[in-house]
Symmetry: C2
Subunit: 284 residues, 2 copies
């Protein structure tokens, strides 16, 4: 056990009143999204829920991911969420439609649309690569969305499922990681991509290696910033709701399972020590 | 989607009556145990449950693994299980005690005890290594059990969490896999182990590489066979129960989530095509 794990346990989700922005992810990778949200919306009341008891989502079926995404959203709604941010690429890719059907009228933001807009804005030759989990890439949602906005664009996806465990083990600079990143990018490089969407919350941590292996000229798209800008823009045009999401200091970070390893990875993603709270009343 | 996935969906667990041997695992790695059971107990009625919707267990906390193991056992009991086999090393390591407390009188077999007996039988210098998931190695259960049976024995554990995703991706012969296996074994080799327990259902698939990197003289212990022998021995001394577990043809293999990738890995572990059934009434 390490001393770095600041841990706790709470059913406190229920006890604190007030409206909030609810962010969920299959685990803790989505903290990169929370970080960008906090930077742009300081003082807004936010709760992050990481479903660490059932992580990962990216190896599971669309049916199961949709069920989990609905349960996560219902949990955040019980805590008072008035806006939902899906920080998980796998859930964004396969469950967004189901969430919008299930919760009509609820503002739901996800990571795919902002990545797509950014990729189209920066590509020159209109040849875009997408890397992500198997669930994300096999959903085909990037290709559909990209081509619905620009039918001329060519899109190539490749699942890179080994990158998540490598990041979670902290193997950020090891030769094996470099080799696996290289292998993952070869089929995309052969297609001549000039833009690469980092379609998984874990990949930005490997940005330097990915850039090196993809080549200097390939532009990497990390959707966390774009997504946070979208949420900010939405709240600026909804001042009533923005007022309701009153200042509340630090965001709370709840997880469905807690281990020292999860705390270590959380620190990696947020760039600072962070307190994870075990949510006893969470789904899973 | 691949054509190799023979899939189906069932709540049929409930509809078939009769007593059975219930085997569970966090996913499909435990099929190696089922294979050995079927070889020794042909015709006995068996149901395997793989909790693929919440897989893996080995990265999760003891508290969560115990909860899942209890739910999996309850599920198998509802299906008619009279004997429980815990094929998952992580669950065997952290949840056996809790299961025995929760279900007194129920015959529960797990993978740790047979590995320990075998390791003690084969070690010459009494220096034993254990590799497994983080949950398994950090539980310290191998060391406790080995030393309770022989206080002179020295036990060294090292978690190798990357091997599970490498196997599940089918990277069985890639140089990266060889390098990662080598790295994982270095600290154990430095301790001079002469015996190595493969403390995770996935590792036997990498037996050749592990043997090469551990050195020819190190004896590898794979508990699946020993465990199956134990169950067989138990039934020979309990003929009444054995009669109750009447012939039923092929074992049923139920999973809480179904994807083509899970079917592919199942084939890898069983050495033949296999039909996985989605268990709609399973926990998770």
């Amino acid at each position: 056990m390490s001393d770095e794990a600041a841990v706790g346990s709470t059913g406190a989700g229920r006890s604190k009143g007030g409206s909030l922005i609810g962010v969920f992810d299959s685990g803790i990778g989505g903290l990169t999204v929370l970080k960008e949200l906090v930077a742009r919306l300081p003082g807004f009341r936010m709760v992050y829920f990481g479903d660490t008891a059932r992580t990962p989502y990216g190896t599971k079926s669309p049916e199961t991911i949709i069920r989990y995404a609905i349960e996560d959203t219902e949990y955040l709604l019980r805590l008072g969420a008035k806006v939902i941010v899906v920080a998980c690429h796998s859930a964004s890719s396969v469950a967004t439609e189901a969430l919008k059907e299930r919760f009509p009228g609820l503002p739901i933001f996800e990571v795919v649309t902002p990545s797509v807009k950014k990729a189209l804005a920066v590509t020159k030759r209109k040849v875009i690569g997408v890397i992500g989990t198997r669930a994300t890439v096999e959903s085909g949602v990037y290709e559909r969305l990209l081509r619905s906005l620009d039918p001329e664009v060519k899109v190539y996806g490749n699942p890179c499922p080994l990158l998540v465990p490598l990041v979670e083990e902290g193997w950020l600079k090891k030769p094996e990681t470099r080799m696996i990143v290289k292998k993952c990018l070869i089929p995309l490089k052969m297609k001549g991509i000039d833009t690469l969407v980092l379609g998984c919350t874990h990949y930005p941590v490997l940005k330097k290696i990915i850039q090196a292996k993809a080549g200097k000229r390939v532009i990497l798209v990390d959707p966390a910033e774009e997504l946070a800008e979208e949420v900010k823009g939405f709240l600026e045009t909804h001042p009533g709701l923005a007022r309701e999401l009153a200042p509340d200091g630090e965001p709370r970070i709840l997880v469905s399972d807690l281990t020292p390893a999860f705390s270590r990875v959380a620190r990696l993603f947020l760039g600072r020590q962070v307190q994870l709270l075990k949510a006893e009343d969470a789904p899973a």
